[in-house]
Amino acid sequence: MPPTESRIRVKRVDSVTQVEFLDRNILDEANIQVIGQEIEQLIQSEPNPRLLISFSGVEHLSSAALGTLIQVNNHVRNRNGQLRLANIDPQIYEVFVITRLNKLFSIHGTADEALKSFTK
């Protein structure tokens, strides 16, 4: 049976929606689908969404997860929103570098730095 329970933790900091993952490994395709759907709901719930995705505690990330992040980025952009990524483990950051997705995403060292980078 596919997992249906939430795979993310969401909190609101000022006008920014901050997302963290409950899983250390974001590999399982069914989980990635759930994560994508949950984040999609957050994007659609407001105009000009300001979304911060923190990878704190995440140890593994698959190419399918990267594909979902690209979709999230597109959907945030379509709604004139802003997306920031933060707290990415150095080994996972290397995955972003190899795939050159470090150029596509706005990546910050810490959640605080990412929060400060949102434009009003």
Binding site: G67, Q91, I98
Partner: protein, 151 residues
């Protein structure tokens, strides 16, 4: 009456550092195969960065075999994973039962025009992390070799 011991998942004479496993596209099967290979890698004390590279490459190779190789096949058709782990290197071979493909036809996902496309990123990561990556002529069998980095 004594209870029967649980059946071992693999035959008792199977060598822990090498083997040939049939894997279907079901999470418990995938996890078991993963644990067997990565367990052997961990026993040989490969560094953390190597384990990261091998976990990711094995995952991406299995997903490619199921999602692309077995696209037209029922989910109960297995792929074959052959692995050998020693102190110097890790060999992983994944053979699917699909028609095969030409890896040169996969668009480069790092080019600006392809960066937002969904495909090709798994193979790109495998090529970046593994020491040697080869497809057979038909394109349904991937051989990956990882050399232990020099200390």
């Amino acid at each position: 009456m004594a209870q029967h011991a649980p059946q071992p998942q693999f035959s008792p004479d199977a060598h822990p550092d090498r083997g040939t496993i049939r894997v279907v596209n079901e999470q418990p099967d995938i996890d078991a195969a993963h644990n067997r290979v990565i367990g052997a890698v961990e026993r040989h004390n490969y560094p953390k960065a190597s384990i990261f590279a091998l976990k990711l490459s094995l995952h991406e190779a299995l997903m490619n075999a199921f999602k692309h190789g077995h696209k037209e096949l029922p989910t109960n058709v297995p792929i074959t994973l052959h692995f050998v782990v020693d102190d110097a290197k890790v060999l992983m071979e994944i053979e699917d039962q699909g028609p095969g493909f030409n890896p040169d036809d996969v668009p480069d996902p790092t080019l600006e025009e392809n960066i937002e496309r969904g495909s090709g990123r798994g193979l790109l990561l495998i090529k970046a992390y593994m020491s040697k990556v080869e497809y057979n002529k038909r394109g349904n069998k991937l051989t990956m070799v990882y050399q232990r980095p020099k200390a």
